[in-house]
């Protein structure tokens, strides 16, 4: 081809026009579903490294890999790769029945060996599974036909719930052993509804439908998940028609776009906002703690700062959780808060002083919420100084039990069990807990190994009531996740917060 300045210019103009013609149009007939996702996917192994415990990434993992047990959008378990599960009479063994007729993305058959190997691998500390201590409560895996059995080293009533929680994924034994960790990163396969076609780290992953998926072939045959961490850019993505679905944008933007050409759905998810109280300084005074809890008008914060998108909570359990008890309440009561403080010699003229730590921009309106709370506290005689820190510093301080007397945080618990909300957040010896008083530890200890499920849940409700009465923590609200989509796509929200493309359908 003869290329001169004139022809190059001509081709460039033509090619640019061609490129622009390739821009996605506002979806009428969507061949390829494009989702603007709020996080990036650093690595593909869902059982290893920091990504394995990052709740926001789980939706992408669940598009490619299946968990041992399926979790429904309402957080309830359902038969998945494991169709039946349970303990023996004395809780010394577990048994799992494995689904038959399932294939891996490379066409090889999925077997009970894969389940046993995945469980054993998860328990192996050398693999780098951050939750291996949960899985190591099981040992001696045996496979017989489509049944897997294991010995229980230490009884954990939540072990089956972990099978649809963090790192509870089934990976392909033969394939992984053949290609190794590096090969698996380069070409991951699972049994999930989508297969990985192309992956550009920090940019996108392109998925192809697994037509033979045991749960039924997904409606959209090709899905591109773009990683767009900036909220303004995500909004622009759907507004411009470059993406069909996105999530987690400011509520004001959600309302604005929902009133226009886009469809919105906002449902409560399993994330909560809370204020950790540390058992130090003035927080050792129960009157101060209780006054701090009663002085906060949570509904006002939700209405004014979050445009009404939030659910007020008074325990660390949300209405979807098993140990939720609506009878436990901590009412907004300024008079009571003033009275409690006065009993300890504090008031607006002689305020009790402490520091409250918070992130700024990590969660929607986190800093603004704390500003509002500090304003409410000031009225009753609490003078709190706000210290802003990064979430990484929060983790470090919390693990070292060095948080300020009050610290804002959000807690996720997508399995809805009380051990993974109240339990780990409030049990003194846990590195996640902040309040470490012996009275509370004593109440929680017997519940860890309680085999009677009804008794266990009732026990956690009692613990929640005790915590609320003593104001050992200040639960604030359950978050609502906003999702925007073009009208041609119907999104089924998942209470875990995972945005799952295989649950999306075409509007009829």
């Amino acid at each position: 081809m003869k290329l001169n300045r004139r022809s190059l210019l001509k081709y460039s103009v033509a090619a640019t026009a061609l490129g622009m013609a390739g821009l996605p149009l506002r979806a009428q007939d969507i061949d390829e579903l494009v989702i603007a996702y709020n996080v990036t996917l650093p690595s593909w192994d869902p059982t290893v490294g920091p990504s394995a415990v990052n709740p926001t990434i789980q939706g992408i993992y669940q598009s490619v890999f299946d968990q041992f047990i399926l979790q429904m959008p309402d957080l309830k378990p359902a038969p998945g790769l494991v169709t039946e599960w349970g303990w023996n009479e004395d809780r010394s063994k577990i048994h799992l029945t494995v689904r038959e007729g399932v294939a891996w993305h490379d066409g090889s058959p999925f077997t009970a060996e894969d389940v046993a190997w995945s469980l054993a691998r998860a328990a192996n500390p050398d693999t780098g599974n951050p939750i291996n201590f949960v899985w190591s409560s099981l040992t001696n895996f045996q496979v017989e036909g489509n049944t897997v059995t294991a010995d229980v080293k230490q009884f954990d009533p939540t072990i089956f719930k972990w099978m649809y929680f963090l790192t509870g994924y089934v990976l392909p034994k033969a394939y992984y052993e053949k290609v190794g960790a590096e090969g698996f990163e380069a070409a991951p396969i699972g049994t999930g509804p989508y297969m990985v076609e192309k992956f550009e780290r920090n940019a996108y992953v392109r998925l192809k439908a697994n037509e033979g998926y045991w749960g039924g072939a997904p409606e959209f045959k090709t899905v591109t998940i773009k990683f767009v961490p900036d909220a303004a850019a995500r909004v622009a993505e759907v507004e411009s028609g470059n993406s069909h679905v996105t999530l987690e944008m400011p509520y004001e933007e959600y309302d604005r776009l929902r009133a226009g050409q886009l469809t919105g759905i906002a449902t409560p998810v399993s994330d909560i906002g809370m204020i950790f109280l540390n058992d130090i300084d003035v927080m050792l005074d129960p009157n101060v703690r209780k006054a701090a809890a009663h002085a906060i008008d949570k509904q006002l914060i939700i209405d004014r700062l979050l445009s009404g998108y939030g659910v007020k909570i008074d325990t660390l359990e949300t209405p979807e959780y098993e140990a939720y008890d609506p009878s436990i309440t901590v009412p907004y009561d300024v008079a009571l808060a003033t009275e409690l403080l006065a009993a300890s010699g504090y008031g607006p003229d002689n305020p009790v002083k402490f520091t409250i730590q918070t992130t700024k921009g990590f969660k929607p309106k986190d800093y603004e919420m704390i500003q509002a709370i500090v304003g409410m506290w000031r009225k009753v005689g609490i003078e709190a100084e706000i210290e802003v820190y990064e979430i990484a510093k929060h983790y470090e301080l919390r693990a070292a039990d060095q948080l300020a007397p009050a610290a804002f945080y959000n807690w996720g618990n997508s399995v809805g069990d009380p051990t993974t909300s109240t339990g780990f957040a409030m049990f003194g010896p846990s590195p996640h807990s902040v309040w470490d008083s012996p009275d509370l530890i004593e109440k929680i200890v017997p519940l860890w190994g309680e085999p009677d499920e009804a008794k266990r849940i009732a026990g956690w409700k009692e613990v929640d009531r005790y915590i609320a009465e003593n104001a050992y923590v200040i639960p604030l609200l359950q978050y609502v996740q906003p999702v925007l989509s073009v009208p041609a796509v119907i999104v089924t929200p998942h209470a875990s917060g995972a945005l799952l493309p295989h649950l999306m359908k075409r509007a009829s």
């Binding site: 081709y11 460039s12 033509a14 090619a15 640019t16 026009a17 061609l18 490129g19 622009m20 390739g22 821009l23 390829e32 603007a36 650093p42 490294g49 920091p50 500390p125 780098g128 951050p130 939750i131 291996n132 201590f133 949960v134 963090l166 960790a181 990163e185 550009e200 780290r201 920090n202 940019a203 996108y204 392109r206 773009k226 990683f227 767009v228 961490p229 900036d230 303004a232 850019a233 622009a236 993505e237 411009s240 028609g241 470059n242 820190y389 990064e390 990484a392 510093k393 983790y395 470090e396 301080l397 919390r398 693990a399 993974t420 339990g423 780990f424 010896p429 846990s430 590195p431 996640h432």
Partner: protein, 336 residues
């Protein structure tokens, strides 16, 4: 000979600079709050679990010990393994470098073109109202930071008039025949203008956002230099020879006036690469900057170290190249 000596000395100072940067970065990111192990602690983890994870990532040793191990690896070409991606750091960083370089170069070309046109037009129309308008435009371009230009451009050409892509580097559905990560360059070499157009359509807005403030700086400095040069005797002489104003500006004044601008462009190019960090994030462009932000958020210490060292290396190399280029173009230095 003198040039070779200069290069040799600069290479030595570059090595010392990089070592200093490595030490500072290594120590600082371990001192500031935010331990990567604390970030991946699961509910229920015990002290033993924390110790196990720390040992797994080599964070259980003292900082000098960690530095000795890391620098030993670097000398062998091993920059360690990223904690979050579990990939070799060197491969990750070098894999992203072409995307960032292409973006920065495209932005630089745009800035030079826009700034150059502004300066030449301003000089040609000096003393008129048009020059005032150009100065106002320059001031506006300079006073708004690049990320704000990015948001404006997304709104203007991504949402209101959706003619350009606003995220990513290339359309995911396209099949890429590339053997390097220099997509823009390779698409031209392979005469794949369809891919080239798609890449340009993705890069145009982030590059323009980066280019606008820089173009204002270039335009201002070049115009100032041109105006000063226009009063010099040799320029007056060329006028008396009967050359037109355009010829005088382009062929007589510009070659001399461009030298300070050239130095500025070199210095600004390094800042431009630094500026890609925010712009790449805003446009979800898979370059080094986007990788850097993820590394910092996740406290991926080996990756942060690798990226900072690479940025430092780029800065020193670009400065070296600019110095050499300046020496070559400036006759007074060339014959010194």
């Amino acid at each position: 000979m003198q040039l070779l000596q200069t290069i040799f000395l600069r290479l030595i100072t570059t090595a010392v600079t990089l070592f200093g940067v490595a030490v500072i970065v290594f120590v600082v990111i371990r001192i500031v709050p935010g331990n990567p192990i604390a970030m991946m602690l699961p509910p229920g983890a015990t002290e033993a679990d924390i110790a196990r994870l720390s040992a797994l990532y080599g964070l259980d040793k003292s900082i000098p010990e960690q530095f000795a191990i890391w620098s030993g690896g670097v000398l062998r070409g091993d920059f360690g393994t990223s904690i979050t991606t579990r990939q070799p750091v060197l491969g990750l960083v070098l894999g992203r470098l072409p995307a960032t370089l292409e973006l920065a170069i495209m932005a630089l070309v745009m800035a030079v073109l826009i700034g150059g046109v502004m300066a030449l037009t301003g000089t040609r129309l000096r003393g008129t109202r048009s020059e005032g308008a150009i100065d106002v435009a320059n001031g506006m371009a300079l006073s708004i930071p690049d990320f704000l230009w990015g948001l404006v451009l997304i709104l203007a050409f991504g949402v209101l008039l959706p003619v350009f892509h606003i995220s990513g580097r290339i359309t995911p559905s396209l099949q890429l025949p590339f053997s390097t990560n220099f997509y823009l360059f390779e698409s031209l070499v392979r005469l794949r203008f369809d891919l080239w157009a798609d890449i340009v359509s993705h890069m145009f807005l982030p590059a323009l956002a980066l280019a606008i403030p820089l173009s204002a700086v270039i335009g201002q400095l070049l115009k100032q230099s041109l105006k000063e040069t226009m009063h010099l005797d040799y320029v007056t002489l060329s006028r008396t020879k009967g050359y037109g104003e355009n010829h005088v500006i382009l062929h007589e004044a510009l070659p001399n006036a461009i030298l300070p601008t050239l130095t500025l462009i070199g210095v600004q190019f390094t800042f431009l690469i630094g500026g890609t960090v925010i712009i790449e994030r805003l446009f979800s462009y898979e370059g080094l900057g986007n990788l850097a932000i993820d590394a910092v958020i996740n406290r991926d210490l080996p990756l942060i170290q690798g990226i900072v060292i690479l940025f430092a290396a780029i800065f020193t190399v670009v400065n070296l190249v600019v110095d050499l280029l300046y020496a070559t173009l400036n006759p007074r230095l060339r014959h010194a």
